[in-house]
């Protein structure tokens, strides 16, 4: 087995380190882990690439890790384009690794059903540092039928998609603080009229359904912004067919759901998008434009607004944007109709990304020991941000100032909302929104909070439906064709592909879920 070679390497690193000294302040808390001899290397499968000074950071981390727990950390990086397929391949082929990044939008459901993931429900409580960093609400929200299959990776409580707009243009055109949808629309039209060469809003090909629905709001779905506690949406993973659930009905225990093309708010969004397309408010090549391309064009000053998420990264665009437009500024707009503190939008608190443990080739004990070790601030900062003083330095408000281009995919291994540092150039607007998004109390928990539809009974119908949605719904999301005729085609194709069976199955599972919650 290959771990014996790595053990030797780890030992050599340790003897080498002994001469260098331990005065790096890494001997943190004494690990109060359950007794057990750990050894070998904990291999983590991560997306993206290794950061520039990864070897130095890894050596330093392993010094402490070896001393405190007796094993090493190693990571295999797979680029994003191929991550999903390669991660699945490694699980399938029984490769030896401890943890990997997984998600519903990758293959987590399939892996869980085939017993490839370790059950972590009772494990978290055994590790105090880890337990401290993961709130109960977070754990509860991410349990599937009462069991926890992965450690949720979030840096905020709520994840709300919204508009990131050019504050400098808004100020110039007389829009100070946009709080409702109509004003936002007016801003977009004003930009189109008065700023030549700037397209008001940039949409990218990967956004699709996000433009019309979400929990609680779809980007151009005005009704969902004005009623942010009304709609919960869910799909069978991979089908592309989103059902809009009536949240009010669920509170009284009844399941009421419709396919997206029957929801009033979504239909309104389709009409708006079509109008925006015809009026040139959105770019006409949205269907084909890669997200990176739109980003690149946004930072070159070509768009007055783009999609953003409340994960603290919207201001990252500002650095490059300022090179092209020196006085540029960004504002985060959530058009609920009033200040964001005046509403409590619906949330499920489900994490988009989770760290799963390999059941068939990984060591659960060792994996969780690593997770616990990484939940300590010093260790967390080392691995996520690099070597302090060289790669980053702390700012007075607990934030971070980057000194090098060290960039680690933290959401694949060690995100803890309590430990994540805010970047030093976050705009005021984003700071406000991000802080608001941290508190669970600011949001309404959905009745369907930990409902995860199981696609196995309708696997083939879901795959068929994916094709229907890609072919007939995508044009609707981007406004390139007339709404009514396209809706007809979509409905007919969906019927032929078995939407009724999917709907029936979804209703059945939702009913079972609500009943189980009642008990």
């Amino acid at each position: 087995m290959s771990t014996s070679t790595l053990n030797r390497r780890g030992f050599l690193a340790l003897t080498g380190a002994a001469g260098i000294g331990i005065g790096l302040g890494l001997v943190g808390c004494t690990p109060s882990s359950p007794a057990g001899s750990l050894s070998g290397t904990s291999m983590a499968i991560l997306p993206s690439t290794a950061p520039s000074s990864w070897n130095a950071v890894l050596a330093q981390a392993n010094k402490a890790l070896q001393k405190e727990h007796g094993f090493n950390l190693n990571a295999q990086f797979i680029n994003w384009q191929n991550y999903g397929q390669q991660a699945l391949l490694k699980f399938t082929a029984g490769a030896k690794f401890d943890t990997a990044l997984q998600a519903l939008w990758l293959n987590m459901a399939q892996l869980q059903q085939s017993h490839s993931l370790a059950d972590l429900t009772d494990e978290i409580n055994k590790w105090p540092n880890l337990k401290k960093q993961l709130s109960d609400e977070l754990i509860d929200a991410n349990k599937w039928s009462g069991k926890l299959w992965g450690i949720p990776q979030v840096n905020s409580a709520a994840r709300l998609q919204h508009f990131s707009i050019r504050k400098d243009l808004a100020d110039k055109l007389g829009f100070s603080d946009i709080q409702d949808y109509d004003t936002l629309e007016k801003y977009l039209y004003d930009v189109k009229q008065k700023e030549s060469g700037v397209t008001p809003f940039g949409v990218a090909a990967n956004q699709t359904f996000e433009l019309v629905l979400g929990t609680p709001s779809g980007l151009f779905n005005q009704r969902s912004w004005e009623n942010p506690t009304e709609a919960y949406v869910a799909q069978f993973a991979g089908s592309g067919l989103w059902f809009v659930f009536d949240e009010k009905a669920a509170e009284s225990g009844t399941v009421k759901l419709v396919p997206l093309w029957e929801d009033e708010g979504v239909l309104g969004a389709f009409a708006k998008i079509r109008q925006y397309y015809k009026d040139g408010i959105i770019n006409a090549d949205g269907l084909n434009a890669e997200n990176a391309t739109i980003q690149s064009q946004f930072t070159a000053g070509k768009y007055a607004g783009q999609w953003a998420m409340t994960d603290g990264t919207a201001s990252n665009a500002l650095v490059a944007l300022r090179k092209a437009v020196p006085n540029a500024d960004l504002e985060e707009v959530l058009p609920y109709g009033g200040a964001i503190t005046s509403v409590k939008p619906l949330q499920t608190f489900q994490a988009d990304n989770l760290v799963v443990v390999n059941a068939n080739g990984g060591d659960v004990h060792r994996a969780l020991a690593l997770q616990d070790w990484l939940s300590i601030e010093k260790n967390h900062d080392l691995v996520e941000y690099g070597i302090e003083g060289k790669d980053w330095e702390a700012t007075s408000d607990g934030g971070i100032k980057q000194l090098s281009d060290y960039s680690f995919p933290g959401y694949g291994l060690l995100w803890r909302s309590g430990l994540e540092r805010k970047s030093s150039f976050m705009t005021e607007s984003e700071k406000k929104v991000f802080a608001w998004a941290q508190d669970y109390g600011n949001f309404t928990k959905s009745a369907y909070a930990s409902f995860i539809p199981d696609v196995t009974p309708v696997k083939q119908a879901a795959a068929q439906m994916n094709n229907v949605m890609t072919q007939y719904a995508n044009p609707l999301y981007y406004g390139v064709v007339d709404v009514d005729s396209q809706l007809d085609k979509l409905k007919r194709a969906a019927d032929a592909a078995g939407v009724s069976s999917l709907q029936a199955e979804m209703e059945k599972q939702a009913n079972a879920y609500l009943k189980a919650q009642k008990k």
Partner: protein, 316 residues
């Protein structure tokens, strides 16, 4: 009066038994490679008939007969997808072979040494441009930045023709894609033909030229017939792959743009999209097997036809 090139049918001498052993040894490394790296993994094709479960692995999963095939074959989309695949592949094959042949013939006419080499390099390089870059350049040409423009549309407006939103018009795309394929493969194919042309003895051209043939006539009546065996091989090999869509290029250009699917969706892109998140290994293998079997039937037919037409140059 033309002196015809009498084709001698050479009698192939059978080798001695010692010679045969020598030849078998020659073939051995190749055969070993095929056994290990081609036929070994083929055992995994059984998963097409199984309900694949990751924990149980390929050989531990339960059999489920032809269920995996039902997904694609029973879906209403199958006829259209298959038709698109075959139609597009035929277009691509025909166009690239024709382009390769013409380019080889014409390059053969070029006397300037340096110019000829330069041209050969130039037309060869498009083969190595990744499909993503091709997609980007195509977008620039057809739709411009922001989707409202593009070089083609600008040209159209210059001659007072209405502009077309190319990325929402499925009808034009088989031809656009063929165009792209010719750009990609013209040079590549011509290299193969050129290698064959260089083995044509110069005396043949001299003889034809003494007979008063123009260069055009020589290209048509001398060079082309001598390239037919090569052409035959390329056609037969292409026919075998006729059910395998050109995934890389088509997916990079069309992506998830549903409006173009009626004419550009092929088996491989369809399967890729459907199984992207569901990740059902059994169904993917089943469809791959289906494509292979159909391709095999087609190629057998093609080889039999070729044997009837020109036994000497047949592959088998």
């Amino acid at each position: 009066m033309q002196r015809s090139a009498a084709v001698a049918a050479p009698k192939r001498r059978k080798p001695t038994s010692r010679g045969t052993v020598g030849l078998l040894l020659l073939a051995l490394p190749g055969v070993l490679w095929f056994l290990i790296f081609a036929y070994g993994p083929m055992a995994g094709l059984v998963v097409a008939f199984k309900d694949f479960n990751i924990s149980q692995g390929i050989f531990g999963s339960a059999w489920n007969g032809l269920d995996n095939f039902k997904y694609f074959l029973a879906s209403g989309d199958a006829p259209r997808i298959v038709l698109n695949t075959v139609f597009l592949n035929t277009l691509f094959l025909g166009a690239s072979l024709l382009a390769g042949l013409l380019l080889a013939l014409m390059l053969n006419e070029i006397r300037g040494h340096f110019y000829r080499r330069f041209m050969q390099s130039t037309i060869f390089f498009p083969y190595f441009v990744s499909p993503i870059i091709i997609a980007i350049i195509l977008q620039v040409i057809l739709s411009g930045v922001g989707g409202r423009g593009g070089l083609v549309n600008n040209l159209l407006s210059v001659v007072d023709l209405p502009q077309v939103n190319w990325y929402t018009e499925p009808g034009a795309w088989p031809w656009i894609l063929t165009f792209v394929k010719v750009w990609q493969l013209g040079g590549y194919t011509s290299v193969i033909f050129l290698a064959a042309i260089t083995s044509i003895p110069e005396e043949v051209y001299e003889a034809a030229s003494i007979d008063g043939a123009s260069r055009a006539r020589m290209a048509l009546s001398v060079t082309t017939p001598l390239l037919l065996p090569t052409m035959g091989i390329l056609i037969v090999l292409g026919i075998g792959r006729i059910f395998f869509g050109d995934f890389a290029t088509i997916y990079a250009i069309v992506g998830d743009n549903g409006t173009l699917f009626p004419t550009t969706d092929v088996i491989d892109t369809y399967v890729f999209r459907s199984l992207r998140t569901i990740g059902d290994f059994g169904t993917t293998a089943a469809i791959g097997l289906f494509q292979s079997v159909v391709g095999f039937v087609f190629v057998t037919a093609a080889v039999l036809v070729q044997r009837r037409v020109d036994r000497e140059s047949s592959i088998l």
